[in-house]
Amino acid sequence: MTRSCNGPTTAGVPAGACTGCAGSQPPVHAAQPLPSRREFLCVAAGCAAAATTAGCTDLTHTGWFRERFRDLGADEKAGILADLAKEHSERFHKPVTVGAEPPLPGVEFGYALDISRCIGCRRCVYACVEENNQSRDPQVHWIRVLEMEKDKGIDFAHANAYYDAEKVPRPGHFYLPVQCQQCQNPPCVKSCPVGATWQEPDGIIVVDYDWCIGCRCCMSACPYGARHFNFAEPEIPAEQMNPKTHYLGNRPRMKGVVEKCTFCIQRVRNGRYPACVEVCPVGARKFGNLRDPNSEIRYILEHKRVFVLKTELNTRPRFFYFYGV
């Protein structure tokens, strides 16, 4: 499944005709109602010769004639999910499920990481890769563990993500894992010109990979380096592929789209902890419902010394760091 197979050129529309129409479209803000893709394409098709529409009858999930996933009706979603499950099951030679579990009512997810306990062992990085079907080659990691010197404090300019050690923690160092901060005021969402990424009611920022045009505006907008681009066709060994997937989360991606941490949307919307929380050998990672006053996350916010990264940018992360000791 590559982007090239659903482009207008292969659909038979002359590239020149479409470029002209696309150029006349105003920049689209995520919060504004987007022009219907169907309407746009009808115009585009009209611009082109009628004969060129022969290839535009692809009505599958990658087809041009559909709305964004979040705007679809239940029947259309079910059809798309079934198509995807079939496609991935054939590709990976095992039964793959593609879910679209909705947000739970009264839930807003929050995450807290105890930097007084993290030892920098990178177990979380690779648990995330396995759970979320990131590309092994070229390597895509949603979590980056930064090593910093205790003498310098939190200092991104001198942080090292490529530390190599026989044993961790190394004396005189501490570790600060960084992943998507699931901001309440997310610059990535604002920067997306096509509305392919948005904030769900439970606070998770998601990407519709079938809608992403790969412009990487969101990557440059994110102050945390939390978004990652598939520069090449992602490679996942079939035996290592996690068959329990979510449309907005860990389903296999294609070349040319951006991906990011979703707090393991396929797990947390079913009540489970994210993979990185479960794997952490020192219990530095904590997760829960910010709206539940009895949750672990609220206990941390109310009793511990808590901070967020780059608070001056007013991104208001839902990912907190704290000192548990």
Binding site: A161, V277, G283, K286, N289, H303
Partner: protein
């Protein structure tokens, strides 16, 4: 915005949030009257079995209850030589935690005899802040459901009770640098 407004007063009250009633609730476990043999049912925590070294439990397999225990503090020479106590070893030794009479049990400072499955209460006598956080689900690993049944671990699942400092680990592989990627 909602959360920020919600948290702002709470974060401002960090010190006030640890109010006396909160501390009392937890410290009440450590200040029981001698002879008090039970604690309220709701404060017990479900934990997996303790991680005993194979063949070491029950202790009475070797420690015959009929033979009186030598309570004299001394270095171990004939048995239990496989570990060195590195846990306030200047002040502590075996029978501060292991019960003298019932060799398959532990005891608290109060004299209350407890099972190995409740060893967190023993640890909590000195490490009250960690015990409080552990009970709240903040210290230590947690698995299960964030909105439902949670699985706790005993202190000794992660900390060797005789040398409790967390041991360094070998890290997972270094990520590929962007400059090392294949073209």
């Amino acid at each position: 915005m909602r959360i920020a407004l919600l948290l702002l007063p709470l974060m401002g009250l960090v010190s006030a949030a640890c109010d006396e009633s909160h501390v009392q609730v937890h410290w009440s476990h450590f200040t029981q009257e001698p002879g008090a043999q039970t604690q309220p049912e709701e404060s017990r925590i479900e934990v997996p079995p303790p991680p005993f070294t194979e063949g070491v439990f029950p202790c009475t397999d070797c420690h015959d209850p009929e033979i009186p225990t030598n309570t004299k503090r001394r270095p171990m020479k004939t048995a239990h030589t496989e570990f060195t106590l590195k846990h306030d070893e200047e002040h502590r030794w075996c029978l501060d935690c292991h019960d003298t009479k019932d060799r398959d049990k532990l005891h608290l400072a109060s004299g209350e005899v407890i099972e190995f499955t409740e060893s967190y209460r023993l640890c909590g006598q000195c490490h009250g802040d960690k015990y409080r956080d552990w009970r709240a689900g903040v210290h230590g690993r947690r698995s299960g459901q964030w909105n439902g049944h949670k699985t706790y671990l005993l202190c000794v699942h992660c900390h060797n009770s005789h040398a409790p400092a967390f041991q360094p680990l070998k890290p997972e592989p270094v990520p590929v640098r962007p400059t090392e990627r294949k073209p």
